[in-house]
Amino acid sequence: MPRHETVHSGLDGAGSREVSLTIPVASDMEIVATAQVSALGEYIDMPHDKIDEVKLALVEACINAFEHAHTRDDRVHLTFRVGRDEDGPDFLEVEVFDQGKGFDHSGVEVPTPEKTFTGGKKRGWGLQIMRSLMDTVVITSGEWGTKILMRKYK
């Protein structure tokens, strides 16, 4: 018997790199959640600027859930996954799930700098920022709530 048992290798199976985090609907909890992005981003050696981009996308998704969703459980459920496409680079995936009222994202007006400056409508940039900073963003929403699935390659 070896004297120092090693911990599991961590390279086994698909589910083995999935971390889930539940945060309360409360101010600054979106920042507490970004710590997980740093930790997993560093785990796959993602460059720091890209980690920052994932963090901001996560912050935007969380504050949307805090502000708009009116969640039934007063919580936001996050799942972080690290993985790799076949022969591709590693990625970090973030899923933001709220059990709120849902919304029709196809009906959301796309913001522009012009409307923002001359039109007086300053808000409405969250989804756009997520799409700009992440490689893929998939939104599903219904009466059950909203799920934002975002992926960024390292």
């Binding site: 101010s27 600054d28 979106e30 920042i31 507490v32 970004t34 600027d49 920052d52 981009e53 963090k55 901001l56 912050v59 935007e60 504050i63 913001p111 522009t112 700098p113 012009e114 923002t116 400056f117 300053k122 808000r123 940039w125 969250g126 756009q128 920022i129 700009s132 900073l133």
Partner: protein, 118 residues
């Protein structure tokens, strides 16, 4: 709760330099706005926001910074940003803040530019 943004302001002639430290969300943005308007009321003509110690500005924070920018422009003042992380710079460009405000790599460059437009 040290997540909230700390702000230090220094007045040099008619220029006010703001150093932020930490997350700029709605509260942080509103605090910057409050202090910016106080500086304008006290005669400042140019504002330089040094975000060196801020790594995240959320979209609500930026929307408030855009309001500050508009108010500064209304008063024929100047607003400049400096020392942005690449992600903050990118977000300012996405939202168009970069089209209306000037962004400089360093505080020295920002100060030089706002002084030249005096």
């Amino acid at each position: 709760m040290n997540e909230s943004c700390k702000i230090v302001v220094e007045r040099r002639g008619d220029v006010a330099i703001f150093w932020t430290d930490g997350y700029i969300n709605n509260q942080g943005g509103e605090e910057i706005a409050r202090q910016a308007y106080a500086q304008l009321d006290a005669g400042a003509r140019a504002l330089v926001l040094n975000l060196e110690k801020t790594r995240i500005v959320n979209s609500i924070g930026i929307s408030i910074l855009i309001e500050v920018l508009e108010k500064v422009m209304d008063r024929k003042g100047v607003l400049a940003f400096c020392s942005l992380t690449p992600t903050i710079d990118k977000t300012f460009r996405i939202m168009g803040l970069a089209q209306y405000a000037s962004i400089y790599a360093t505080q020295d460059q920002a100060l030089q530019a706002v002084t030249a437009t005096g």
